[in-house]
């Protein structure tokens, strides 16, 4: 029993030191074990000191870019793979046979209906960020919003472009006020744009007071902001889409809304390659 206690205390001290606590604090919390603990924790320190090194920032940056590029590519591929998985089933083949003419018809007009999909790139000229204007967000312990896609509408032609966020789920409680999170970066054709649409597939809220999950409504399944902005080829345009959560009176229900006053685009110089 004593040995188990000691193992547990040693384990706790190792955790604390790993989290940045110091050896002396841990020893003073367990004076009865201090004499036995000290040499062991000192050995831990010696071992860590011997092997420690900080990976080079350049290598870390390069591998991070590689990882995000692979992630972006994978997210582009997922719907395609799922499609093939579905059509490989006999029942679907039967449906396909019945609807073949309709599909052919759809294929002809499909390019006109579906907006072109933009490809993510860490060196892209457009970054899309999410933020939260604090209204009733204080009621929440967490409020996770899952965004399935984003559409940008060009001014004039009305042509739409879409992209799939690299980070799909954001917790709005972590993005209050000046805080924001980049969810996609890539190349967007230079030009004037007038509307931004966010398609939300899921909203999961947990209340701070009760810990209960709560219904957050978004009847249309999308958030829309009408705002002119320009994207240029030689600068990075960062567009922040601000979302806010508002209580519906005393019903215990909440609505998710776009906050146009806090949303908008800003431009900065592209980093050197």
């Amino acid at each position: 029993m004593m040995a188990e206690d000691f193992d547990r205390i040693l384990d706790e001290c190792i955790d604390r030191i790993n989290r940045g606590d110091n050896l002396v604090d841990c020893l003073s919390d367990y004076p009865a074990y201090s004499e036995k603990l000290k040499p062991l924790l000192q050995s831990m320190h010696d071992v860590q000191k011997t092997y420690t090194f900080t990976p080079s920032a350049d290598t870390k940056r390069a591998t991070r870019q590689k990882f995000h590029a692979a992630l972006g590519k994978r997210r582009q591929m997922t719907p395609v793979l799922s499609f093939f998985k579905v059509i490989s089933r006999p029942a679907v083949w039967a449906t396909v046979a019945v609807l073949v003419l309709a599909i052919v018809g759809t294929l002809v007009i499909r390019p006109l209906l579906n907006p072109p999909t933009l490809i993510p790139s860490p060196e892209g000229n457009f970054a899309f960020l999410i933020s939260d204007e604090p209204n009733d967000i204080g009621d929440f312990e967490s409020l996770n919003v899952t965004i399935s896609r984003v559409e940008l509408q060009a001014a004039g032609s009305g042509k739409r472009l879409e992209f799939t966020p690299e980070i799909k789920t954001v917790d709005l409680t972590q993005l209050q006020g000046e805080q924001s999170q980049e969810i996609w970066r890539g190349n967007v054709p230079a030009g004037q744009y007038s509307h931004v649409y966010i398609y939300v597939s899921e909203v999961k809220g947990r209340l701070e007071l009760t810990g209960q999950t709560v219904d957050v409504k978004l009847p249309s399944g999308k958030l829309h902001i009408s705002m002119p902005f320009e994207v240029t080829a030689d600068t990075v345009t960062s567009f922040t889409f601000d979302i806010t959560v508002v209580a519906k009176g005393n019903t215990g229900e909440y609505n998710l809304k776009p906050q146009i006053g806090e949303s908008g685009a800003q431009q900065e110089q592209k980093p050197l390659e």
Partner: protein, 178 residues
């Protein structure tokens, strides 16, 4: 698309987000973990990057593992390290010249530190493979003993016991009064 399929994609998307979030916190720790095994910093950094790429490709299999994602990353790191060492044809130890000595003191101090580091490296070599793995995951991966237990398939208590025995052994071999 049926509901099951949609759920699968949604889960995979969540895993992707989770994996992306772990990059900043765990890249350095994984690089250190690999470094302890292979003794080459540049290679360790490359392998750490490879761990995340491999994890991304294998996210489907993650669901079947039942371990925290960070633990799963270290499993991948372990496998890549073993592959690396197999390719190298022998298990390398950290060459003393590559250990970063803090500061640039006088030659006598440097020599003393070299001896101290050599003693630590020698002591690490004396541990059993499992003990070394526990120490590596706890000290450099900074995983909890519960996470280590899920990786090694042992109970928390067994990991804590192995950890204590390993540190006592290290202490005994290094055996210096400070």
């Amino acid at each position: 698309m049926n509901i099951g399929n949609r759920e699968n994609i949604s889960t995979i998307n969540e895993y992707e987000t989770q994996l992306s979030g772990l990059y900043e916190e765990y890249y350095d720790k994984i690089a250190r973990y690999v470094y302890v095994h292979i003794g080459n910093k540049e290679e360790a950094e490359d392998i750490a990057g490879e761990v995340f790429l491999k994890a991304l490709k294998s996210l489907k299999s993650y669901r079947e593992q039942g371990v925290p994602m960070q633990g799963w990353l270290f499993r991948i790191a372990h496998n890549l390290t073993v592959d690396y060492l197999r390719k190298m044809g022998k298990r390398r130890t950290v060459p003393i010249d590559s250990v970063a000595l803090p500061g640039n003191d006088n030659p006598a101090d440097t020599a003393e530190k070299n001896i101290e580091f050599e003693r630590v490296i020698e002591a690490m070599k004396q541990l059993t493979t499992e003990q070394r793995e526990v120490i590596n995951l706890r000290f450099f991966g900074e995983l909890t003993s519960k996470e280590v237990s899920s990786i090694l398939g042992k109970s928390d208590g067994a990991v804590r016991e192995m950890q204590r025995a390993a540190i006592e052994k290290l202490r005994g071999i290094m055996g210096v009064e400070r």
